[in-house]
Amino acid sequence: MIVKGNNMNKNKGFTLVEVVVSFVLIIIVMIYLIRTITVVIDKNNELLIMEEYSVFEKTLLDKIYDDIENVDVLNITNQGSSIYFNEIGKTLLLDKESNCIIYDNIVYELPDLVYFSDDDSLNSVSTSDYFIININLKLDNKNKKFNIIHQNNK
């Protein structure tokens, strides 16, 4: 007589194919995960750099505009890597070696990964009615610039 059930072979464990397929799937998922984490970290760093740059730009521009905004007539002298504001006796200097901007003897260090452009980091346009100073920078290999503008009161 055959009795079913009591003498059945018990098969525990996994076949080799199951193990290999599982490992391959897990490795593929891990590769995508690591790639995604790298992208997220890069994007976060980019945002932090932008934020630091914005703070730097605001601090410097606020200081300069505080000095020049209420001056009726203001002329500048472009001395190459520096600008002299004639009527207020202050100088804006781009120090490429130390990677900083010096205005009124106060040093404003450029944030991390921000550098002066190789060509023409300091330009100016000056007429009898206005002047515009361009400062050209590189932020993480992207070109950035900001202007300092003054219009003479007519």
């Binding site: 995604t36 914005s54 605001k58 521009l61 505009y65 206005y130 515009i132 202007n147 503008i149």
Partner: protein, 151 residues
């Protein structure tokens, strides 16, 4: 009688849950790309440099503001062709508009991407009656209020 084994090993459950969580993380991180792009659009609006430029534009047109306010269309596309000051500032176009910009945004004057952002701006806090909208050559843009009541 056969012994019935329903359910899963703890290890099996943990592995499956961790793989699903990983896949969800990857999908979420890739969708974040979409939100970061939106943030990049916001980084074109009212940059620090743009704001200072817009203030200077307002100063430039101080004596002509009364003429701009008398427009029947609700906005003025200020003609800046041939003006070296705006060319040196890389300004593409300047609009003088009612603060809520309803009339300006109902036309096709402004490029669609900026128009979309302007439509999403909150204009309910109506302390100002008018505004300048300054659009730069790199499609950054800034606005500055006119006749603003600070109280």
């Amino acid at each position: 009688m056969l012994k019935r084994n329903d359910g899963y090993f703890l290890a099996e459950a943990i592995i499956v849950i961790s793989i699903i969580a990983t896949i969800i993380t990857i999908v979420y991180a890739n969708c974040m790309d979409y939100f970061v792009r939106q943030n990049n659009e916001l980084s074109r609006f009212n940059t620090i440099d743009g704001l200072y430029c817009a203030k200077e534009v307002k100063k430039y047109f101080k004596n002509e503001e009364e003429n701009f306010k008398n427009t029947a269309d609700g906005y003025v596309n200020i003609d800046i062709n041939g003006n070296d000051f705006f060319k040196d500032l890389d300004i593409k176009s300047i609009y003088f508009s009612d603060y809520d910009m309803i009339n300006l945004l109902s036309t096709s004057e402004v490029i669609p991407s900026i128009k979309k952002d302007l439509k999403n701006m909150d204009t309910k806090d109506n302390k100002c009656r008018y505004r300048y909208i300054v659009i730069f050559n790199n499609n950054n843009y800034s606005t500055v209020g006119v006749d603003c009541n600070d109280s």
